[in-house]
C-alpha cells in the first residue's frame, strides 16, 4: 500500500498503466471497458484507495448518477421503511440516492425540488405531499427532471405513478368486517392531507353500496400530519358523545387507528373480537407499529416490496430511455388483509 495519496485521475491512471479517458470510462460504467482492463483497474483500486472527485465528475456529465428520493413525512415509519428499500435498490444499481423529507410542508417540498433541480439528478422518486403540494411547482419540476411519483398520485404529473390500489385495501376490510360482524362506519379526517384518503372514502362508499349496506362517515377535524393525536382527539369526542353509528370502526389509516385505540383505552372501552369487547377497529396500511398496538391492529397491508421495486424499475427504464416516457403509466398494487386482534 503506497502511502502518498492519489490526487487525481491522471495519477491513478499512471499507476494503473492505463490512459485517463479509459479510467473515466470505467467509472462511468465499469462494463464499458474490456474485462482484462477492468480487472487491472479494480486491482489498482484495491491497492490505492482512489475515488474520483464527485464534483468534477458531475460538472460536465450530461447526467449525474444521483437519484433523489422525496417523501412527505419521514417521521412516519411507513415512509422511512419504504425509503430504506428504495435506497437499497438504487445503490445496488450503481446510483447515489439522496433522501429528502418535506416534513409535511409545501415550502419544504418546493425547496427540495429546487435543490434537486440543481443537483441535476438522473431521476427522482417523489411521494408528494398531496393536497398540500403546489401542483404547479411539482409539474414544472417534472418537466425538467425524469420523475416517478409514488404513494400518492397527482393526475397527469410525472412520467408514471406507482402506488397501492386503495379500492383493494378498502374492499377487503369492508368485506371482512361486514361478513364477520356488523358493517363498519368509516373514521377519517374531514380534510385529509393525503389524496389516498379520498380514494379510500370513495371505495368505502362504493363497497357499502355493492353490499347493499348503509354507509356512515365519521369525519373528524384536524390538520397536519399528527394523525395519531388527531385520531385520538376525534375518537374521544365521538365516543364520549356516543356519536358512533355502529360498533365496528374502519379507520382510513393505521395512524388514525393508533389514536383511536388510545382513546378507547383511556375511556375503558375494550376493543377486539373477543367476548367482553364492545367495539371492533380495523384500518389500512400495515404500519410498522400496527402489530404492537393494544390490541394488535387488523389492517390491510401495502405490498412494500412490489411498490418499491416497481417504482425503481420504472425509473431505471425511464432513465435508460433518456428521460422521455412513451406514455404515462399508473400502476397500483393490491393489498393483503392482515387479521389481528382488533377486529
Amino acid at each position: 500500500m503506497s502511502e502518498d495519496r492519489i490526487r487525481n485521475m491522471d495519477e491513478f491512471a499512471a499507476l494503473c498503466g492505463i490512459s485517463r479517458p479509459t479510467i473515466s470510462k470505467y467509472f462511468n460504467n465499469p462494463n464499458s471497458v474490456r474485462a482484462s482492463t477492468r480487472d487491472r483497474i479494480e486491482a489498482a483500486l484495491r491497492e490505492y484507495d482512489y475515488r474520483p472527485n464527485i464534483y468534477a465528475m458531475n460538472q460536465n456529465r450530461r447526467l449525474t448518477k444521483n437519484i433523489g428520493i422525496v417523501v412527505p413525512y419521514l417521521a412516519d415509519p411507513f415512509f422511512a421503511e419504504i425509503a430504506r428499500v428504495i435506497e437499497r435498490r438504487c445503490i445496488d444499481a450503481g446510483f447515489t440516492p439522496t433522501l429528502f423529507s418535506s416534513h409535511g410542508e409545501q415550502s419544504q417540498e418546493n425547496a427540495i425540488l429546487d435543490t434537486l433541480r440543481s443537483l441535476r439528478p438522473a431521476g427522482v422518486l417523489l411521494a408528494p405531499l398531496g393536497r398540500a403540494s403546489s401542483k404547479k411547482h411539482v409539474e414544472e419540476f417534472c418537466r425538467d427532471v425524469p420523475t416517478i411519483l409514488f404513494d400518492s398520485n397527482i393526475e397527469g404529473v410525472g412520467a408514471a405513478f406507482v402506488g397501492s390500489d386503495n379500492f383493494s385495501f378498502v374492499s377487503q376490510t369492508v368485506e371482512y368486517l361486514s361478513r364477520t360482524g356488523s358493517a363498519p362506519c368509516f373514521f377519517e379526517m374531514r380534510n385529509p392531507a393525503n389524496p389516498n384518503a379520498n380514494k379510500r372514502r370513495d371505495a368505502y362508499l362504493e363497497m357499502m353500496r355493492r353490499l347493499d349496506l348503509e354507509p356512515h362517515l365519521v369525519q373528524i377535524d384536524g390538520n397536519g400530519w399528527g394523525f395519531e393525536e388527531i385520531g385520538r382527539a376525534g375518537a374521544l369526542k365521538v365516543l364520549q358523545q356516543d356519536l358512533l353509528p355502529t360498533d365496528t370502526v374502519l379507520c382510513s389509516n393505521d395512524r388514525l387507528a393508533i389514536g383511536f385505540l388510545s382513546a378507547c383505552h383511556e375511556l375503558g372501552i375494550r376493543v377486539g373480537r373477543e367476548e367482553g369487547c364492545t367495539i371492533r377497529v380495523a384500518s389500512h396500511d400495515d404500519h410498522p407499529y400496527s402489530r404492537f398496538t393494544c390490541p394488535s391492529l387488523t389492517t390491510a397491508a401495502h405490498d412494500y416490496e412490489a411498490v418499491s421495486d416497481h417504482a425503481v424499475e420504472t425509473l431505471f427504464r425511464l432513465i435508460d430511455a433518456g428521460g422521455r416516457p412513451d406514455k404515462r403509466e399508473e400502476t397500483q398494487f393490491a393489498a393483503r388483509l392482515i387479521m389481528r386482534a382488533s377486529a
Copy 2:
C-alpha cells in the same frame, strides 16, 4: 422576466453589471459584499432565477457548505424527529444538510462515511451505531472530517459529544417508581446495540444501591434494531414463566416498553396505577408514540431541542475554528420525567 436562461455566473454578472468575482463572493457569503452591491445582486436574482452550479462551486472550494447528518436507524421516529430539527438548523445557518441512515448495519455506516468523505463536507453530525460501529473506521473518518457525535458516545472519538445524561433519566424514573410503589426491576436486552443502554443499566444499579433497594435485572435475548418485537417476545416469556421479581417494570427504552405493553395486553394483564392493574411499566426516551400506547407510557423525556441545538452550535463553532477543536467536550442534558397512565 427575460426568457433566455442564464448559463453561468459570467452571464449573470453581466446582467447585474457587477464583476464575476464579486458575485462569487456574494454566493460564498452574502454579508461579505457591500449592502448596495448585495441589493443589486438580490434584485437581479429575483428577476432572473439564476443558481450557481453546485458542482463547479464545490470543486475548488477548500470547504463546501455541506453538512452530513448520520443516524443509526431512521425507521425509529425518535431519530427521524431529531434529524428534522437538526436539518432545519443547518438550513437556517446557510448550510446544505444531507441525511443518511445506517439502517442498523455497520457496512452501511462505513459506506456512508466513505461517501461523506468524498463529499468534503464542512462538518458532520454523527449518531453512531454504537456497539456495532467499526470504531477504527469512525475514528479515521473523524480525523479527516470535523465531526460531532450525538446520541451515543464513542470514547475519545470526534471533536465533541452531545447527548442525554442517562443517569438523569434513570435516577428520576427509579426515584419516582420506588417512591410511589414497589421498586422497579430493570427490563433490557442482554446485549444492547446502543451504548446508552449500558449506561442506563449502570445508573439503575447505582440508584438502587443509593436507595438501599435490591436491584433486579431482567435481561432478554434478541439482536438488531427491532426493539418492539424483541421487547414483546421477551415480555411474553418473562410473564408467562412468571419470572418478574416485582410488579413494577422499568424498561431501558420506550421501544422495548411498547413491546412489553403489547405482550401484557395479549396476556390480559392490566397495566397502570389505577386499581385493578397488576403491574406498572415505565421507560425512557419519550418516543413520539409513547403517549399513544395503551396505557400511555410514563417515561423520561430527552430534551430534543437542547441536544439538537447544542450539537449544531458546537459544530458551527468547530467549523468556524477551522475544524480543529481546542479540546474534546462532552455535554449531556438532563431528562424530564413525564408521568402518564402506565406507572
